[in-house]
């Protein structure tokens, strides 16, 4: 039973007793699950949406992607019942009994239409660059069979197909540049286990279960209704969670974990996320040009201490850019926390304290001093910057911390106008493709993500080999070599992979969450 609504109804009764009496019963609240996040949804259209929570709703509730992932991050059939895979392409055979929520069948034409819209540059769709950069064409073979051609062989080609089709019969009249503002995005017609009911802007989104959702895709959901609420302030959200007005709080911060663990009626879930924190060094800057220096800066930091003190142990130390839970992750030993070795390496690189002021200088007397930027909206990042500042001071390196607003930071980072920056990176899918981050061809390309400007032939070679590998074993070996090469190059000081946390009411059973997302199992949640 929901506690807050009852309290409110009692209040309502006090005022309403003479007029109408209290008509509301608890039936609605028994069947509805309230899930809260700290930010609003963006667009329920996989072609134009770029928000991660929204994309979970798209993939797990409203729409039906061609494939889904199992808990080991291996692709499993979903909209596609099976597929024929060869080195030049893949043919998907779709289930014939999946319907759009307006009744029309989901067909290969919808899949091909979605592919074409995504590939059309005028759409400015992120699907194209996120998933489809290695897919060149789509052909409809019959109404429920579609074939995609690859630009070349690669080890995990199915990773490019974790996206759902959109209904062609509704969206084909919308010109591609207008898709971003189509009414559809706020009133979608989907094909998944939940259908769209209502979006009250800034307040809530309501979805309802589809009673005849096909058994071949897991059957109908257990819950009748899911109501998403948006509450920006963490303390307010925590308060709503503790009083039981919210069933699932999907935006729990590490510092709130202890209070939630003490509370009754609520349990805390945590799982490895897709986000890591790093300190990015500007490799173009002569100060950071030498990889020995960058490794020394990493060794000066105690990542364990950062995790324990700032994230309450809800993180693991990072060794590189491939998530620890990913099948392609290589278990390499991290650079140690070793201030003595860091000092020795800085000595060897020519940075010595020549004038006895506690700060190292190079041969021409320039002190080892730089600005470490971060944004102030995220207190953990500011704290990381300050802890790093103290640790670096102990090895004779002076970091001046400068915090700024997020967009300002981003603009300077993008323009390569920085010395060093505390930032985080979030994976939006399960492909391993660090090309845009670390390949030398991206180093000086305007707007690209290799903002550190790394140009390292060993990293390039390993990455190219891994991306071109035709089987998983070769790919895994190449990614291992990549991880080792990247660790030596150390364009970033990889700090930690964060855990994600959620608070779940004891009224809910069957709730499992992992790196696939908060909502991965929502169709199997059950309310007591």
């Amino acid at each position: 039973m929901d506690v807050a609504p009852v309290a409110i109804r009692r209040a309502a009764c006090c005022l309403a007793v003479a007029a109408l009496g209290c008509a509301g019963d608890d039936a609605a609240s028994e069947r509805t699950v309230v899930v809260a996040f700290n930010a609003e949804m963006q667009a329920f259209n996989p072609l134009v949406n770029t928000d991660l929570n929204t994309s979970e709703v798209i993939n797990y509730m409203l729409f039906t992607p061609l494939i889904q992932y199992d808990s080991a991050f291996e692709p499993r059939p979903y909209l596609a019942s099976h597929w024929d895979l060869d080195s030049t392409g893949v043919t998907f055979h779709l289930h014939r009994n999946v319907r759009w929520h307006d009744g029309a069948p989901v067909t290969a034409h919808d899949v091909a239409f979605t592919f074409e819209r995504a590939k059309n540059p005028e759409t400015a769709s992120v699907l194209a660059s996120v998933f489809l950069d290695r897919v060149s064409a789509a052909t409809v073979i019959d109404s429920f069979t579609v074939r995609f051609e690859f630009t070349g062989p690669h080890a995990r080609p199915l990773d490019g197909f974790w996206w759902p089709p959109v209904p062609r019969h509704i969206l084909e009249d919308v010109p591609p540049p207008e898709l971003v503002r189509a009414d559809f995005n706020r009133r979608p017609v989907g094909s998944g286990p939940f259908l769209f009911v209502d979006w009250e802007p800034g307040v809530s989104v309501t979805l309802e279960r589809v009673p005849d959702f096909p058994e071949s895709l897991g059957g109908p959901a257990n819950l009748d209704r899911v109501l998403f609420r948006f509450v920006a302030e963490p303390t307010t959200l925590l308060s709503e969670t503790l009083t039981g007005a919210i069933d699932v709080n999907g935006s729990v911060f590490p510092h709130q974990a202890a209070e939630l663990e003490r509370a009754s009626g609520v349990r805390l879930l945590h799982w490895p996320s897709r986000e890591y924190y790093y300190i990015g060094w500007n490799v173009r800057d002569p100060t950071f040009a030498d990889p020995r220096v960058r490794r020394a800066l990493t060794m000066a930091l105690d990542r364990r201490e950062l995790i324990d003190a700032l994230l309450f142990e809800y993180a693991v130390p990072a060794t590189g850019a491939i998530a620890p839970w990913h099948p392609m992750h290589a278990d390499i030993s991290p650079l140690p926390h070793d201030p003595a070795a860091a000092a020795a390496a800085l000595d060897a690189a020519g940075w010595r304290d020549r004038d006895g002021d506690g700060v190292r200088e190079n041969e021409v007397g320039t002190p080892f001093r730089f600005t470490l930027m971060t944004n102030h909206e995220n207190p953990v990042r500011t704290d990381i910057a300050q802890v790093a500042q103290a640790a670096l001071a102990r090895v004779g390196v002076q970091a001046d911390v400068r915090t700024m607003e997020w967009q300002t930071l981003l603009a300077r980072h993008r323009a390569r106008d920085f010395d060093a920056v505390v930032q985080s990176w979030v994976l939006d899918n399960f492909r391993v493709d660090p090309f845009s981050l670390f390949h030398s061809s991206q180093a000086e390309r305007a707007g690209s993500y290799n903002r550190s400007g790394l140009q390292d032939p060993r990293v390039d070679r390993a990455m190219e080999a891994a991306l071109a590998a035709e089987d998983e074993e070769t790919a895994r070996r190449a990614w291992r070599e990549f991880s080792l090469a990247l660790q030596q190059a150390q364009p970033f000081t990889f700090l930690m992979w964060l855990d994600e946390l959620a608070a779940v009411s004891d009224r809910l059973d069957g709730v499992e969450m992992d790196a696939r997302g908060t909502l991965v199992g929502v169709a199997r949640w059950r309310k007591r």
Binding site: D2, V3, P5, A7, I8, R10, A11, A12, C13, C14, L15, A16, A19, L20, G21, C22, A23, G24, D26, A28, S29, T50, E122, T123, A124, V126, A128, S129, V130, V180, R181, N185, R186, P201, G202, V203, R229, V231, A232, T235, T236, S239, E240, L242, T243, E377, E405, Q407, L410, A411, R412, V426, D428, N429, R431, S436, L437, R445, G447, S448
Partner: protein
Amino acid sequence: MTAYIGRRLLHAIPLTLGILTLVFVLVQLAPGDPAALYIQPNVAPEVIEQMRENWGLDQPIHIQYFQWMKSFVTGDFGYSLAQHRPVTAILADRIPNTLILSGTALLIIFALGIALGIIQAVRQHSALDNVLTFGSLFIYSMPSFWLALMLILIFSSKLHTVGWWPDWLTFPPSGITSSVGYESLGFWGKLADRLHHLVLPSIALGVSSAAAVARYMRSSMLEVIRQDYIRTARAKGLPERAVILKHALKNALLPIITLFGLYLPFLLSGAVLVETVFAWPGMGKTIVDAIYARDYPVVMATSFLFAVMVVVGNLIADVLYAVIDPRIRYD
């Protein structure tokens, strides 16, 4: 008077246009752009460029300015880049919410402030006066967002766990209505639910200003009741109640009316924090989100409305002056 109001409204036109131009320039000067909202791993730079082009952000700045001014003057506020819907639709959603919240807060500020001020002036130097003085200074020195968090902590989190505390005196910490079950309530039930949700935000927004108004009211009242005409009123045997509420109050209110005009912008900016804390979907939260997202059309439209509200608020204050003080003439 009508001529005066008309003249003031005419003056307001260049003023708001000037404010708008200033806001446009400031927003454009701030680093960052709306497309940054969509930057995430693996989004190719060309995709970002195409987004900017689809939104018309690739146009030169003066072209953007004139296009925007032109559509603005014709009543088209444009299209939100972050929310993907017309700005007018956003404003239609949000303005009533903000008016409800700041209207209630305004009521608390002046009703409570004036009442307390009168009581304190009449009972000057009594224990009650001292307690109220202490209390109002205590509350006045709290920032509204902190007060908001404390109210949530006490009235929705902690008291919730106290067994004997009546349920209807714990208050929901967020939203305008209950998220579940609101639809099944009758009219009075809905109204009660809304009022219940309004309690904490309006107190957080209004109570510290009410404390300030009480201070002003106290001193203004004290000054008035020492004047000769009050002594005359008492001497001719009027009951104390009539002396204070009929003769003294009207004159004592004059400085308070100035405050009305001053508090309006203050309320709107206070609403920015309070709306965020209480997840109240009003204009304040909208403008903050829009600024962070560099959602230019929404920033411009909300700034415009804030400017209009402030201008109108000051006009109302000036008109009220004339109503209350016969010495003031605007001809």
